[in-house]
């Protein structure tokens, strides 16, 4: 443990070599009563969301809303153009020729839903975010390659530096480090 004198800490981080150890550690830490826990991995680890107790996320709802907006907006817009803004009488055919509006309505549904899914995901993840305290840990560069990390955050009501370090040791974490909040 280094830099114990510093007052601003983001949390305590431990490192693991494979996904099974990571899930085991997360389960143990949560069982000990910690709630502000996060894990970092170079690829999505199956079962990690459940171990962390993450609930269903909002991305699919946002995506649905985006799709509805695109589809309904697209159709009503074409309806308005064809009947009100720029009506064209072609051999007395009906102005609201809705079957002809379906391809564009379909494309705009997909476009709206996709834009909403991607930008909704980024917004919920608060990305882009150029800096984050976890990047202060030198070994964290391995989080995008071959190592798995668990961080118990200082915001946790139970947070206590030495106690957190102890529990990480108990689950056999390597390189237990304090994460500074600068």
């Amino acid at each position: 443990m280094q830099h114990l004198h510093r007052s601003h800490i983001y949390g305590v981080m431990g490192e693991f070599g494979d996904p099974a150890e990571l899930i085991h550690a997360v389960e143990k830490i949560r069982a000990a009563g910690y709630r502000r826990v996060n894990a970092y991995s170079p690829f999505p680890v199956e079962g990690l969301s459940e171990a962390l107790g993450l609930k269903r996320n909002m991305v699919s709802t946002i995506c649905l809303l985006g799709g509805l907006t695109g589809g309904l907006g697209g159709f009503l817009f074409q309806y308005w153009v064809a009947t009100t803004a720029y009506p064209m009488n072609i051999g007395g055919r009906p102005l609201n020729s809705w079957p002809a509006f379906i391809p564009v309505t379909f494309e705009l549904t997909i476009l709206g839903a996709s834009l909403a899914a991607v930008f909704g995901m980024l917004a919920l993840n608060k990305l882009p975010q150029p800096h984050h305290p976890v990047f202060n840990v030198p070994r964290f560069t391995h989080a995008s390659a071959d190592r798995f990390f668990v961080c118990i955050e200082a915001k946790d009501p139970k947070f206590q530096l030495t106690e957190c370090a102890r529990i990480l040791q108990e689950v056999h974490a390597h390189h237990i480090t304090e994460v500074s909040d600068d």
């Binding site: 391809p103 379909f106 705009l108 990305l127 882009p128």
Partner: protein
């Protein structure tokens, strides 16, 4: 079946041809793929290849500049053939793009592990093919600087696009396709950009990859939403890719032109698109794995599977040709019957026979296990299919337009130098973009390869 060959799709075959070579770890896949971008010196071959492709692209630039100065009269088009090379090439390129989305979206939904190492560059190929495709209708308008007229915007003239026209459907289909493909590709790239950020040594590279990765840190909470978004995008891209070539086929089938006005067009166009797209993926994958030593990631299993998809879609295309014949004869419509006869005996008959040879006859070799496992044969086959699919679009566009209802409206079409210069030029642009892509971005998804390592090591346990 030859003697000693293990039974089809048995565990034995899976062991012999795995989706990833043995002995890889999270670290070693990361090292191997990121090294292509970060540490491997740029080879002389890359510079030579890039220079050739870039020069060919320069020819396209000249051809387009000349077109803008002179107008579409420099091409071989004239009434009654208003849709020459521009539309043939547009349909060809956009079809090629379809395999990328199919691999990344449909095979993802079907949980096909073998898609992992080919999806990234197949998606890149989609984007570049759409870029090449989009160019053609744009310059075919004759006044590309007026292209914004196709967009619905409140103009001072109070006019709006005609939403009943398939050409406007095209605008929406292709631009949605381009946008969604770009997002799909970029979302897949985010974790890999973070890897490149963490592994690059030089400051400018760190900053560029850092900005592009948007501060991705692999947080479990982020992955949770990321996976939802990725799955949703795959689910959305699947009907989208089927709709795009359907909409493009409407350009033809909605028109009351003999040979175009048929209901088989949408499914037959989509199958043809996937056919030519897989051919192009093979055309790119075979040199790529050779040059960068990626045989452990793009294995024979991948090439074999892609060959099988080609064979299957090729048969659907063959069925489409057959139904075109059958419907024309069965309908008894004399114009349709005449058109079919023109394909067999008219002035463009050699193109039609070449198309049958390239698209139907030669690919039947893929039934053979030996042929599917012969890389050289696959490479040649992929080129043959690409030529065949281009001929198909040429036959569809040109024969119907030169043989309309009234003999006084008949004509002949031959492309000019500038037609060829533009077409070959877009191939230069495509290859240039591929060269740049493999140099600056990971051509194989590193994050998904790590997932594959985790899954295969679990299987072995």
């Amino acid at each position: 079946m030859s003697a000693g060959q293990p039974p089809f799709d048995s565990p034995e075959i899976r062991r012999l041809t795995p989706v990833i070579g043995p002995g890889y770890t999270y670290g070693s896949v990361t090292d191997k793929i990121s090294a292509i971008v970060l540490t491997r010196p740029t080879s002389l071959g890359w510079y030579i290849g890039f220079l050739i492709a870039f020069s060919v692209m320069g020819m396209m630039t000249v051809a387009i500049a000349w077109l803008i100065m002179k107008g579409t009269g420099i091409w071989g088009i004239n009434i009654p053939i208003g849709w020459g090379f521009a539309i043939v090439n547009f349909v060809w390129w956009i079809g090629i793009g379809h395999a990328g989305t199919l691999i990344s979206a449909i095979l993802f939904l079907l949980n096909q592990k073998w898609r992992t190492s080919i999806n990234r560059f197949a998606e890149a190929m989609t984007l570049f093919a759409v870029a090449c495709a989009g160019m053609f209708p744009l310059i075919h308008t004759g006044r590309p600087w007026m292209a914004f007229y196709m967009m619905p915007y409140p103009s001072t003239m109070g006019i709006w696009p005609q939403f009943r026209s398939p050409l406007i459907w095209d605008v929406f289909a292709v631009s949605t396709y381009g946008t969604v493909s770009l997002m799909f590709w970029f979302v897949g790239l985010i974790p890999d950009l973070a890897t490149l950020r963490d592994r690059s040594v030089r400051k400018p590279m760190k900053i560029i990859y850092g900005m592009l990765s948007m501060g991705w840190r692999g947080s479990a909470r982020h992955w949770h939403r990321y996976q939802s978004a990725y799955l949703l995008l795959a689910g959305l891209a699947t009907p989208l890719v089927l709709s795009v070539h359907s909409v493009i086929s409407f350009d033809f089938s909605v028109a009351i032109v003999p040979g175009w006005h048929t209901t088989i067009f949408p499914p037959y166009f989509v199958a043809g698109a996937i056919y030519s797209g897989f051919a192009m993926v093979l055309t790119i994958a075979i040199p790529l794995r050779k040059v960068y030593g990626l045989e452990d990631f793009i294995t024979m299993r991948h090439l074999d599977n892609m060959a099988k998809v080609m064979l299957a879609t090729g048969l659907i295309v063959a069925y489409g040709y057959f139904i075109e014949f059958f419907m024309a004869s069965y309908s008894g419509n004399k114009f349709d019957v005449f058109l079919v006869q023109q394909r067999l005996h008219g002035p463009y008959a050699p193109y039609y026979y070449a198309l049958i040879l390239c698209n139907i006859l030669i690919p039947q070799l893929l039934w053979s296990f030996k042929m599917r496992h012969n890389v050289a044969v696959l490479f040649i086959m992929s080129i043959v299919v690409n030529i065949g699919m281009w001929l198909e679009r040429f036959v569809i566009v040109v024969i119907s337009l030169t043989r309309d209802y009234v003999p006084s409206a008949w004509g002949r079409y031959s492309p000019t130098f500038w037609d060829w210069a533009t077409f070959i030029g877009t191939m230069g642009m495509f290859v240039t973009l591929i060269f740049l892509f493999v140099r600056v971005l990971p051509a194989i998804s590193i994050a998904e390869m790590r997932e594959l390592v985790a899954e295969t090591s679990e299987d072995e346990k």
